[in-house]
Each structure stands twice: as C-alpha cells, then as structure tokens.
C-alpha cells in the first residue's frame, strides 16, 4: 500500500516538474503584484489578462533574446498581502520589474522596491502621493487629482450640482480623494456638504444612504474600489438616494457597467482610444477574445506597463547591458517617448504620466457614453 502511494506521489511530482515553466536561464521574469482573490479580484483579473496579452506580443514579436515570463502573486489588495508578494518576487523570483495596483498596496511595496532597486509600475492605483514614492516607482495612469480637476468643475460649474457629499473608504486612496475634493470643490464654487468614511470591509450601506438623504446633496462622490463601489451604488439607489452619483476610474469595471442601479452615474477615466492605432485595435480584439468583455483604460495601462518593460529591456540588450532595475530606470530617463496603446506616453521626472482625462456616463451598454 505504502509503495503504491509512494509511486503515485513520485508520478505526481514528475508530472508537476514536466509541466513547470522553463528554467530561469531560458526566461526573463517580471512580476505582477495584483489582487487575484477577494472582493477586488475582478480588477486583478482585468490587469493580469492585459499584462499577459503584452507578454504574448513581446514573445511573438521576439523583442527579447529570451522568453518573457509573467510571475503573478496575489496581493489580495491589502498592504500585508502586497508586501509578502513583493518579498517573494524580489527574493525568490529575482524580478527586476513588478506590476502594482491599489494605492495602499503600492505605498507598502514601494520602499521594498526602492531598497532592492526593483522597478514597480502602477496602472490601477490613483492616490496622488504615488507620484512621490521614489525613482523606482512609476505610474502609467493619471492620478486622481488629475481626474478630480476635470470632473469637479464639470459637475459644479457646468451642471450646477454645488453640494457634494463624499463617501470614501478608510484607506490611503479614500483619504487622498478626500484631500483632493476638499481643495477642488470649493475652488469650483461648490460645497463639500458631508464626508462619510466607511470601513474597507463594509458591505451594508442602507444606513449610509439614510445619512446621505439627511445631508440633501446635489451629487454623491463615491471613492472606493472593487466590489464595494457596486455595493454602495446599489444600496444608495435601493434606499431612496436619487441624486447624481459621481466617481473616478474605479467605476470602469464590467460588473458596474451592467448594474442597473449604476445607470446614469458619471466617472472619470483616462482617454484610451483603442481604435486610434493598429496596436490598440489588436489589443482590444485579443482582450475581447480572452475575456468576452470590452477593453477599458485598465487594459491599456497594464498592457502599456509590460510593453514599457519590453521596450526598455530590448534597448538594454542591444546595448549589452544587464536587465536590472537600475538600468531600466536609466533607460527610461533616456528613452523619452513611448508609442503605446492610447498614443504617445511621456514619463515626467517623478515617474508619472500626463494623459487626457474624459468623463463617462454609465448607460447600460457596457462601454458607457463619453460626455466630456
């Protein structure tokens, strides 16, 4: 009996080794520190699919001397999970470049990347202080201050919705949005009529809706992410809140686009026109085939994040330099402009990018309607 079990175990191990990816010598690895489980996994799935399309393109186009491999670790969208994943990616997988997401996670892992001289690149988090995390932390997404600068004047001045209530999550992203709105709303001539901070794990918002009704706002700004955004919007509408709902790029998920209660909500996101170039069309088509859903700005960001690595690593190989975080940083500073999905991308000295921001309305069609 024991020998049979031993044989079965050996067989299983042999199968596992046979199925394992190529050895480190045959591949160039980059990491992805993304939420792959928990209430934020929907976004992690979008990010990782977009990144894997870029990896496939780099390999298919033979941009690098070896096969590029994406090692995905689950941050669970928590700083603790992100730090564990980052330590593994740096210490075990020895990657020079890591895809990151979520403000709290990004802020937690940035010092680790800085110390190990490993580049972290963010395509999903929008906290304004992500621009100040050091040379080794880059962003390929416009941060929320740029989004608010577009949305708030539109809401207050053009639409006349002067009293705004903010519902914001109890984490660095929520607090960052609070800070931005405290500056932007009065600047546009409006009033921040209320600030309701909610716990990250909260799922019940009927009583938050009661608070909002008491405050009688013209618009409600929702600053959360993942499933919680959907829950807030649904429960606001179910509990008698009829005013305009506004938010930022976290609202560009397929599940909220299909939520009947979200219809009519406005949110900002960067302009990501997939039809403008052959590359954009190729990415959008492959993403649709892979997921059955339309590509959004997050797809462009994580595709671009991996492509930035491909372009920089290709240049380093041509120059005979090793692909390290330090060399990638030097090469990025020397490179200037990147031609990617959505057009030309130029990194600022602080590792951020400036991109046009648009306002979308959820209209029940999936892709939504651009209103500005």
């Amino acid at each position: 009996m024991l020998s049979k079990r031993l044989a079965a175990l050996c067989g299983l191990l042999a199968a596992l080794f046979a199925a394992a990816p190529s050895s480190a010598q045959d591949t160039i690895k980059i990491g992805a520190n993304l939420p792959m489980s928990g209430p934020n996994a929907e976004l992690g799935e979008i990010f990782s699919r977009a990144a894997s399309i870029a990896v496939n393109h780099i390999n298919a186009d033979k941009m690098l001397s070896k096969k590029l491999q994406l090692v995905i670790e689950d941050s669970q969208a928590t700083p603790q999970g992100g730090v564990v994943a980052m330590n593994k990616l740096i210490g075990v997988e020895k990657v020079p470049y890591v895809l990151s997401a979520y403000t709290a996670v990004s802020k937690a892992i940035a010092p680790l990347g800085d110390k190990a001289k490993v580049v972290s690149i963010n395509g999903g988090a929008v906290g304004p202080d992500l621009a100040e995390l050091g040379d080794y932390f880059w962003n390929v997404i416009p941060l929320v201050n740029f989004e608010a600068e577009v949305l708030i004047p539109y809401v207050v001045k053009e639409k006349g919705l002067k009293n705004i209530v903010l519902i914001f999550v109890d984490d660095p992203l929520g607090e960052a949005v609070q800070k931005v709105l405290r500056a932007e709303v009065p600047k546009a001539g409006g009033t921040l009529a209320g600030e309701l901070q909610i716990p990250r794990a909260a799922q019940q918002f009927a009583s938050v809706a009661a608070n909002v009704r008491q405050l009688k706002p013209d618009a409600i700004y929702v600053a959360s992410f993942g499933t919680q955004v959907n829950q807030i919007v649904k429960q606001l509408r179910d509990n008698g809140v009829t005013q305009q709902i506004i938010s930022y790029s976290a609202m560009s998920t397929p599940s909220i686009a299909q939520l009947p209660e979200a219809k009519g909500a406005w949110y900002t996101t960067q302009s990501a026109d997939f039809t403008a170039s052959a590359l954009g069309q190729r990415v959008a088509k492959e993403y649709k085939e892979l997921s059955g859903k339309d590509a959004n700005a997050y797809v462009a960001n994580y595709y671009n994040a991996v492509m930035v690595f491909g372009i920089l690593a290709q240049a380093l190989e041509k120059a005979g330099k090793p692909i390290t975080g330090t060399n990638l940083l030097e090469q990025r500073r020397a490179a200037g402009t990147f031609e990617l999905v959505g057009g030309k991308m130029i990194f600022q000295p602080n590792g951020t990018v400036a991109m046009p921001v648009q306002i979308q309305e959820i209209d029940g069609t999936g892709a939504g309607k651009r209103i500005k």
Binding site: S37, G38, P39, A41, E42, G44, E45, D170, L196, Q197, I198, P199, A201, A202, Q203, Q204, F205, A206, S207, V208, A209, A210, N211, R213, Q214, T227, N230, Q231, K234, Q235, D238, N239, G240, T253, P254, S255, I256, L259, P260
Partner: protein, 291 residues
C-alpha cells in the same frame, strides 16, 4: 425618524445575520465541528439562486429549492468526505479547521472561475425602498427577511424540540455514546445537522443577493458574522445565534446614530468583546459551553 430608520435597517440586516448564523450554530452545537466552510454554503446557495433566477429565468420557488438542495448537498459533502475521514484518523481541531478553510478557498476560486469575480446581484423591485413616512424608507424585502427569519426559527425550534431526530441531534452534542446506546446512529445525525444547517443559510444568501450583492469572497464575511453571532448568542444555542445575529445587525446600524460610518463594523466587535469579557457564555449558553 433617523433613529427609527436605523432601527428598521438593523432589523433587516439582523434577520439576515441571524439566518446566516443559526446554521453554523446548529452544526457546531450538534457535532462540535468548527465548520469554517459554512460561508461557502452561503456562497453556493446564493450563486445557485442568482444563476437560475437571472441567467436561466427560472421561477423563484424552483430557484430557491434548487439553491437549498445545492447548499445542503455541499454540507453533506463536507461531512462525508472532509470531516468524517479527518475525524476517523486524527480528529484534531486544527486539522479540521485547516481542511475547512482550504475548502472555502477552493469554493471561492471555483465560483470566481465559473461566474467571474465581480459583484452579482438579483435585480428585484423588492429591494427598492419606498417612503412610507417623511424621511422613512422601507423596502418590501425588509418585512420578507424578518418574516422568513421568524418562520425558520419557529420551524427549527419545533424540529429540535418536538421530533425524535431533533431531540437526538441535541443529545448528540451532549453525549454521542449515549446516543449509540439508544440505537441511534451519530453519523447519520451529524449528516442531518450539516444538511439542515447548510440549507437554512440559503434565505439569507438570497436576500443578500437582492440587497448587497454576491461576490466569490463573500463566505469570509459570512463566517465572521456567524462566528460573532454564535459567541454573542451562546455557543451551540440556536435561539442564541438568532438573537446574536439580530443584536449585531441592530448594533451595526444604530451605531450610525451617534458615530461616524467607519465605526459601524467596529461596533460588531465591541459587542463581541463585551460578551467575551462580561458574559463569555453568551445570551443562552452554559458556562461550560454545552447547550
């Protein structure tokens, strides 16, 4: 009016929490198995209903019945293929805990792979509140949740107090050997506990799908609430779990009256800690932890 609104919101949420917690309490009370995967029964029941009602347009009674069958089948599977083999060999508490925890992660990932990782809701007018008095909004689902909870607890109380199987299930927690002496099968009784305990979670799952929505990771939150309600109510007491769930739902909502919203969840744990410190046996538990 605000206080009344918060109270009504708390009653609705408390009813859902109570429906969720009572199954866990029944299973733990009867078998002494710490069924961490109870949240998975909630997720399976909720997603089964969602899939049938929204994707296949199955009538709600059939969808509900199918969801109950799915959750009960999961409970039976856990007893037969996870807990019983472990107990046969080792029966260590920690082994059982880890096995159940592992199953919960597997179920979470299976649901995510099969239906996606975003939020899914059952769209219904029942969740839409109407203003019944100035500033007082109530949705039909509030009354339905409370009524369902009352019906289920009444039925469970009758079953456990007045039927032979119910009495035997209560006896199982006290003395399994004595149950054998009376010619009853403890294994069969444990299976009944898992089937019933998993089935009663389904109404709460359906109401959650209609109000707050489902996501594959919802089982973790459900388990946390179940555990807190069970401790507050008194470990192993069905009546206690029901009262505990109701109290937590009320506390979570009434907290909004004087506290900022970020304190709502903390209030749950303040109530829990208060019970652990001042009344460790909960509402209806005995100091020994037995019923």
């Amino acid at each position: 009016m605000v206080l009344l609104q918060l109270f009504l919101n708390g009653l609705q949420l408390g009813a859902i929490y109570a429906l969720t917690a009572v199954g866990f309490s029944l299973i733990f009370g009867s078998t002494k198995i710490f069924h961490v995967a109870h949240g998975s029964a909630f997720a399976i029941g909720g997603y089964a209903y969602w899939w049938l009602a929204t994707k296949l347009n199955v009538a709600w009674p059939i969808a509900t019945l199918a969801a109950v069958v799915a959750a009960a089948a999961f409970g039976l599977f856990m007893e037969k293929f996870i807990y019983r083999p472990i107990q046969r060999h080792e029966a260590a508490f920690f082994t059982v805990f880890i096995a159940a925890f592992g199953v919960q992660i597997i179920v979470q990932n299976l649901i995510g792979s099969l239906v996606g990782r975003g939020m899914e809701t059952v769209t219904t007018t029942l969740s839409r509140s109407v203003e019944i008095a100035p500033g007082l909004f109530v949705a039909p689902i509030s009354a339905i949740s409370i009524l369902t909870a009352v019906l289920i607890f009444s039925a469970l109380s009758w079953f456990l107090g007045r039927t032979n199987v119910g009495v035997a299930m209560r006896a199982l927690s006290e003395n399994p050997d004595l149950v054998r002496v009376f010619g009853l099968d403890p294994v069969r009784l444990a299976q009944y506990a898992f089937v019933i305990g998993s089935a009663v979670v389904v109404p709460g799952a359906i109401f959650t799908a209609m109000t707050a929505g489902l996501n594959p990771a919802i089982g973790t939150h459900v388990m946390l609430v179940s555990l807190a309600a069970t401790i507050v109510g008194g470990i192993g007491s069905i009546r206690g779990a029901a009262c505990g769930g109701l109290l937590l739902g009320l506390a979570e909502n009434l907290a909004y009256w004087k506290l900022d919203p970020q304190w709502s969840e903390a209030v749950t744990f303040i109530v829990l800690f208060a019970f652990i410190i001042f009344r460790p046996s909960g509402f209806f538990g005995h100091p020994s932890g037995a019923r």
